[in-house]
Amino acid sequence: MSDLLFFFEVTLAGLGSGALLSLTALAFVLIYKATRVINLAVGEMLMLGGYLFFAFAAGFGLPAWAAIPLAIAGGGLVGAVVERGLIRPMLGESPIAVFMVTIGLGSILVGLVELIWGTDPRALPAFMGNTPIFIGEAYVSRKIAIAFAVAAVVIAVFLVLFRYWRGGVALRATATDQAAAYSCGINVPGVFSLAWVIGCGTAAGAGVLLGSIGGISPAMGVFGLSALVVVIVGGLDSVAGALVGGLVIGLIEAWAGTYLGGEFKLVTTFGLLLVALMIRPYGLFGTTEIERL
């Protein structure tokens, strides 16, 4: 097998996992854009999505087409509850305080999942089929290909919604200037809730994809850290940044993991993050603005 083909395959695999990162990063971006909150619990929301799917599909025996929307809706519901219960009382507090609230939230979610489902890693019921996909001679894991397709469609849908849908416009308006959005009759608290619902739902959906690839465990929220790198590199408030950033990080992780070794994956990503912070603190596509305490 030629080295070039191998490189090509690795690159495809990197793009595939990069798409998952993009999707998760999208959850960060949606919430940040509307509410200026970095939700560090996105990783845990993702894990929760995986477990909800597990509960519906394996516990209640529902077919995948029913269990997936239910898991996403469940994630969205949790998002709504969190926004009303934990985030809204923190309105006007320093961004760091809200950030810490989401860290606490992550801990609570992990504990709840452990309490309900235990700590053993589990496999999700298979629903993606098994036939391998070949692009030319290059092999692509079917799950990864599906994840890529789903992520691409979802992000495209979001880009369109932002532009044309009323809710999307309201969200952008709120992101630009909350006070002005208020005075234009936009229901700003409603937009906040909406962003959390959609953001957490997206994360839950990403969790289903991720879980079907690698299984689920209470520790899978760590994936959120890599997605955090994506949003910092891409820009916290940029959907396009999440997309490009995810693919870039996915590729770099795949190349680093292959040619340097698996232990280099994370350190390469975070090294890159430091460089990005020093050169372009607001990300490749982010709005030029430095967060103030």
Partner: protein, 389 residues
């Protein structure tokens, strides 16, 4: 602050005393202490270990105990965190006289061994089969109820060398202390046996997507792939993708990924997974395995491999204590360890298929099992292999 602490302490220790007094603890009980991970990433192991130890203790106590003294397990959950394990150790040893202790992780074993040397009262076994601990000089009061990790891969290599001389091997290890433990020894042993290690893959401990690693595997075209440092994930994904790609490689693992019930949840993809196992499985129908009969009698449903590990550890603890007491010696670390090391050609009641000896800190025997998805069981694929020198 201090008065708070002290008052709480008094209240708590009083009530704790009441609580522990409930199961009629006698002063001369022989207490086995335990830092056991009932929760956290290693909970599946801890739950089995606890049950196995309790069951063996019950068997001994029903037979009248040791010279009339009852055995008792005093344990705490650790969540598989070293500091929690140390806290549990300190709490338990403050409240009880403990000569036998079960610890949950390599880090904990290394941390506490200094303390054991100083105390000189207690020997320890545990869930860690770390190669480093298998050194009677550095860890004089430590032992493990099975082969260390390097011995485990040694057994696998022994098997491979017999099945397919000159086979190509890929090692897949997680980037943790646990995962990296046997790499060097495995490579050395493989070259001794004329096997070729064609690729080493290190995965991050939390890897969920293994596509690039599978590509590496595909390029290396091994006959055997040996995993170490995992319980389950990401092994099924490796195997599924390898099957999709039509790879011929046989997948192998070590003790902690050998439980049949875990693999039964994976389904068809698990078929053919092999690995080294020092104990018999719950359902093994072997002659002269009275202890397995006894276990099946006590527990009608399947018991995990960690259960067997806990059961055997309790058995060896008991044997060491018994030999010490029978020799009329004081229960302390040097005597207990000497008694343990005097175990030779010992019959474990069939838990291990061959008589065992413990000249050092480990029991370097094991057997290759292969998972049969249709039977949902691990079935023996070799005879018992000993790598004792």
């Amino acid at each position: 602050m201090l008065s708070f602490t002290r008052r709480t302490l008094l209240a708590l220790s009083a009530s704790a005393a009441i609580a522990t007094a409930l199961p009629a603890a006698a002063a001369d009980d022989i207490v086995i202490g335990g830092s056991i991970p009932l929760t956290g990433v290693f909970a599946f192991a801890g739950v089995g270990i606890e049950a196995g130890m309790q069951d063996y203790i019950k068997i001994v106590n029903e037979a009248g105990g040791l010279q009339g003294r009852k055995l008792r397990l005093a344990y705490e959950d650790t969540g598989y965190k070293v500091d929690a394990s140390v806290a549990a150790f300190n709490k338990l040893t403050s409240q009880n006289t403990i000569h036998l202790y079960y610890g949950d992780s390599t880090g904990f074993a290394k941390t506490i061994n200094g303390e054991l040397d100083r105390m000189g009262t207690t020997i320890m076994a545990g869930a860690s089969f770390a190669t480093e601990l298998n050194d009677p000089k550095a860890f004089q009061y430590q032992f493990m109820a099975g082969p260390d990790y390097s011995e485990m891969t040694g057994i696998l290599l022994e098997y491979i060398a017999k099945e397919k001389p000159g086979a190509r091997i890929v090692l897949v290890n997680s980037d943790t202390e646990f995962g990296r433990d046997p790499i060097a020894a495995t490579k050395a042993r493989a070259s001794e046996l004329g096997l070729e290690v064609v690729e080493e893959i290190i995965t991050p401990p939390t890897a969920v997507d293994v596509s690039t690693e599978v590509l590496k595997l595909r390029r290396a075209r091994p006959d055997y792939t040996i995993f170490h440092g995992y319980v389950l994930a990401p092994l099924p994904e490796f195997m599924t993708q390898a099957k999709q790609l039509g790879l011929e490689t046989k997948f192998m693992g070590t003790f902690w990924s050998m439980d049949a019930s875990i693999w039964s949840k994976v389904g068809e993809a698990a078929d053919g997974f092999m690995g080294v196992m020092p104990y018999r499985y719950y359902y093994d129908e072997a002659d002269n395995a009275p202890m397995l009969d006894r276990i099946r009698e006590m527990r009608p449903e399947y018991q995990s491999t960690p259960y067997m590990q806990g059961f055997l550890t309790a058995m060896l603890f008991t044997e060491a204590a018994k030999r010490t007491l029978e020799a009329g010696q004081e229960l302390n670390a040097p005597n207990l360890k000497a008694a343990l090391n005097s175990i030779e050609n010992f019959d474990t009641g069939g838990i291990i298929g061959v008589p065992i000896s413990i000249p050092g800190n480990s029991i370097p025997v094991g057997r290759i099992y292969r998972y049969d998805a249709s039977a949902q069981q691990m079935l023996p694929a070799s005879d018992w292999i000993s790598v004792q020198e």
